[in-house]
Amino acid sequence: MTDDTFFDPHQRATIAAAMARMIPTDDVPGAAEAGTIDFLDRYLSGPGYVYAAPDGDGFETLTGRRLEAWTRRIAVVRERYVAGVELLDAAARRRGADFVDLGPEAQDQVLREVERPEGREEEADLARSQVTLYGAPVEVALQQTSAEVDLGFLPLLALHTRQGFYADPVYGGNRDHVGWQVIGFPGPASLAEVHQGLYTTIDYFADNRVHPGTED
């Protein structure tokens, strides 16, 4: 297993705690139950878990330029997380404890502080303006436009928590499809189901599916 993880135990506990504030647990599961930390820790372990095989059986082996790009990307993102843990702890210790040992409300305060550092509002806004979807979504974006490496720590954390909650379970999060169940998305049982053309959403179409004027 050591090859499939990146964080040391303290980093892992800190990021897991922060993810639990991104999508908190209430009467239904949140990031903690979905295993979003497992999703992220394995992703950061190296370029071996970037693309699941189309039928869900294992992962693709990257080569050439793709391997180069993902190796670079993961290296940048790792650094951002290592620095992020230090930021969280530094802010938490001003409140007298490591981040993991604070209560939920204090953790939220620390996260907001790291997201919008006092006196550096302009800088924080600039970081968010790089991304329309995950920072402060002020518009409906049609597509994912960030390269990850252009995101600050908090937008990255929000993005990866969301990915770990809602991506196909093959990636290590969304355990037992809890993310999908929380919002009522009847996704496929597996990637193989889509791959083989067995997954259909026809039951979610209109009761009368035929357009007026085109009946036989």
């Binding site: 504030r21 999508i23 908190p24 209430d26 239904v28 949140g30 970037v50 693309y51 699941a52 189309p54 039928d55 869900g56 790009a69 990307r73 329309t132 979807l133 402060a136 979504p137 002020v138 518009e139 409906v140 974006a141 049609l142 597509q143 994912q144 436009t145 390269a147 490496v149 252009d150 929000a158 928590t161 969301r162 990915q163 809602y166 991506a167 196909d168 993310g179 929380v182 919002i183 009522g184 998305f185 996704g187 496929p188 990637l191 889509v194 083989q196 053309g197 997954y199 259909t200 959403t201 026809i202 979610y204 179409f205 209109a206 009368n208 599916r209 035929v210 357009h211 004027g213 085109t214």
Partner: protein, 547 residues
């Protein structure tokens, strides 16, 4: 480094996306030998899956911005920053690999837009040198090759058609049903969006299963029609199509007279090749075609290929896409079928002097953002926390968008050129996009979003948020206008047959040839026009061999 030379061919096509594959089909079926160079891979449907993370967030289909950056700025006096601006998959099939395949036709007025609306200050409007009537047979040809699902006559504002659609409309989604209900209550016309997906078996392919993973995903079932699964196989079947994927073209070469001689390209191993041809056809999409022309400098073309009048890259347009986002008490499941099995309206497509701006656009229902869980979003939703989770839970199944395509006006200073600092992973300068929206674009966007909101309100929405486009982000992957066609060589790059005015064996078949971008999804017209141009190229060949 040594360069591998290849035997001369009849036609060399750069790009194997919508336009390049169409041209390849037509040329090879008319007996010409075609070599095609495609920058990206040649993938099969077996490599696609229902994987939102890979397809959308991890650039499995998008160009990876670390390898293929672009830069963007809002004016020549502004710094350009790296941005994944108007990305389109760079692989065999191009944009048709990831599209939902909305295929409306343009209207007769689109081809004479300048004449219809008159001049607009600041805009560089031009009529097309060709008419709807000239293109109509080719629209029909593409629709019937693709098995498009639609309902002839349902769009009250459509121009004449010589034939109906080969497949009936797609099944009615709940979000399309809402849209029709709202439009109908207002007395406005709406119609099932014509779509490149099979509502019934067609040409040996089965009907679509309506997976949720459609828009922006590759299709593992082969039931959504694309250049990859229709035109490429047609061309391959002739035995005259030599398609070389993973081939990065560095330069179009010219002979001593300034005619196109061929291309120098790099294969996946980094080996250089030269391919010569009688005719060279550019089909890289409006942005990358302009970039390649500007990269191809020579003594006869010191400012780039066919760029004597400094027009290559200019007058670019991008179709900003935005929405009125509505919520309903009853579920609308706006992800079903991929979130874009839709209803459309051309009620406000035609120009109307009384509105105070020129032109109009295609309006249609759709999912919210990317309608699948990871990338689903709502305007103003916080990025994280209890409130973000609450909104996800309450609205994922209850939200939809009434969207519109902005018919943005061409402007001389809106352009694609070469960035002076940023290079791609192959070491060549990337496309730099300089773009300021015209006030007409913004006014049209506000108007169409307001009408869209009215449709949602008339359909019984419990809330509607208007998301007015305030800038151009290239968010719908439509690009046109960098090498506009026209009869006057002083004001255009290509002639009416999309042949460069100053290089008589060079053609451009992608959306770069469009003098105006229109207000409708362009790919059907891009393919119809590529078919027409390929016919002209083959006609020319026939004329020479029989004379």
């Amino acid at each position: 480094m040594t360069t591998t030379r290849h035997d001369r061919t009849d036609v060399l096509i750069i790009g194997a996306g919508a336009s390049g594959a169409t041209a390849a089909k037509v040329l090879t079926e008319r007996g010409l030998r075609v070599v095609a160079l495609e920058k990206g891979p040649w993938r099969t449907k077996e490599t696609f899956s229902g994987d939102e993370l890979a397809s959308i967030n991890r650039y499995d289909l998008w160009p990876d911005p670390l390898l293929n950056p672009r830069t963007h700025r809002t004016g020549a006096d502004q710094p350009a920053t790296e941005q994944l601006f108007c990305p389109v998959p760079q692989m065999v099939g191009g944009g048709t690999v990831h599209w939902q395949g909305w295929l409306p036709r343009f209207t007769e007025d689109d081809f004479r837009f300048h004449s219809v609306v008159g001049g607009v200050p600041g805009a560089s409007l031009a009529d097309w040198p060709i008419t709807y009537a000239e293109l109509e047979p080719y629209y029909t040809a593409v629709e019937w090759a693709f098995g498009v699902s639609g309902q002839a006559g349902a769009n009250a504002f459509e121009s004449f058609r010589s034939k109906g659609y080969p497949c009936p409309p797609m099944p009615m989604s709940r979000y399309a049903e809402k849209y029709h209900a709202g439009a109908s209550a207002l007395g406005w016309n709406s119609f099932p969006t014509p779509q490149a997906a099979l509502s019934q078996p067609f040409d040996g392919r089965p009907a679509t299963v309506l997976s949720a993973f459609a828009q922006q995903h590759g299709d593992p079932t082969g039931t959504r029609s694309s250049a990859l699964n229709v035109f490429v196989p047609h061309a391959v079947a002739t035995g005259r199509y030599d398609l070389r994927p993973d081939s990065y073209v560095r330069e179009i070469t010219v002979d001593e007279r300034g005619r196109a001689r061929g291309a120098v390209y790099e294969d996946a191993q980094g080996t250089l090749h030269e391919q010569r041809a009688d005719v060279v056809v550019l089909a890289c999409g409006a942005v990358e075609t302009a970039r390649l022309m500007l990269l191809s400098t020579s003594a006869r073309h010191p400012h780039g290929l066919a760029n004597d009048n400094d027009l290559v890259g200019r007058n670019v347009t991008f179709h900003e896409f935005s929405s009125a986002v509505a919520t309903f008490d009853d579920p609308v499941y706006a992800w079903a079928g991929g979130g874009y099995v839709s209803a459309s309206s051309f009620q406000f497509y035609a120009h109307d002097d009384d509105r105070g701006f020129a032109g109009g656009g295609h309006m249609a229902s759709s999912g919210v953002g990317i309608p699948l869980p990871i990338n689903w979003t709502m305007p103003d939703r916080p990025a994280w926390g209890a409130e973000a989770k609450r909104i996800d839970r309450e609205l994922f199944n209850h939200s939809m968008a009434a969207s519109m395509v902005v018919h943005d006006l061409p402007q001389h200073d809106n352009r694609v050129d070469l960035d002076d600092t940023v290079v791609d992973d192959w070491g060549l300068p990337v496309a730099r996009i300089t773009l300021t929206p015209h006030e007409n674009d913004l006014a049209m966007g506000r108007f169409l979003i307001d009408r869209s909101a009215e449709i949602m309100e008339a359909a019984g929405a419990t809330s509607v948020q208007r998301v007015y486009p305030e800038r151009v982000t290239g968010n719908c992957s439509h690009q046109h206008g960098t090498t506009r066609m026209g009869d006057d060589p002083a004001t255009s790059v290509l002639d009416r047959d999309c042949r460069a005015h100053t290089v008589d064996n060079l053609f451009v078949v992608d959306g770069g040839s469009f003098p105006t971008g229109t207000g409708a999804n362009p790919t059907l017209t891009i393919m119809a026009n590529a078919w027409r141009v390929a016919d002209r190229i083959a006609d020319g060949r026939d004329a020479r061999t029989t004379s």
